[in-house]
Symmetry: C2
Subunit: 103 residues, 2 copies
């Protein structure tokens, strides 16, 4: 359930979103996008939860890996649908993870 | 609901956690800790959701602000209780936010 990330530095994409009403194909596409992301070179893991807002954090080896994933065709189509019908709002934050610890 | 963060760079703490069984004072302390964090110098906002795992991302002006918050007495006591009884596991990742965009 936790992403099993390596020692920093690595990169994180924090995607915070508010869903618009109705499924409109969201669930099916979201599952497909997770599957596709996890097959991308440089993908390190993903963590996700949704209540009032959804937070999905994906972890990547490099900014190059993030850029390549962004260029993926199915992912690009999904982002268009996201803007048009699935989300009433979202934020994407690209981060460099500098330190990690845990229990 | 979304943190209204300024133009990057700024910093993020991604706290991913799995709750242990029982409340044991968790809800009350969690609310207090959010209240305290939001009063800290350099605090920029917070986003949170919990399903199977919980993800809380807090945003900060500087690493110094994160360090000062970490030194807060009530926060330190809460983290001890977290390790002892509230969480079966967690990860903390300290990040520099380099780019942000959204809808």
């Amino acid at each position: 359930m936790f992403a099993n990330t390596p020692a920093p530095p690595y990169f994180a994409v924090i995607f915070t979103s508010e869903r618009a009403a109705g499924d409109n194909g969201y669930a099916e596409t979201a599952a497909r996008i997770v599957e596709l992301a996890s097959q991308q070179p440089g993908f390190l893991g993903m963590e996700s939860a949704r209540q009032e807002i959804g937070i999905t954090v994906s972890y990547w080896q490099s900014l190059e890996a993030i850029k390549n994933w962004r260029g993926n065709y199915e992912h690009t189509l999904a982002r268009q649908q996201g803007r048009e019908k699935w989300y009433s709002g979202f934020k994407v934050r690209i981060c460099k993870v500098e330190r990690e610890y845990g229990l």
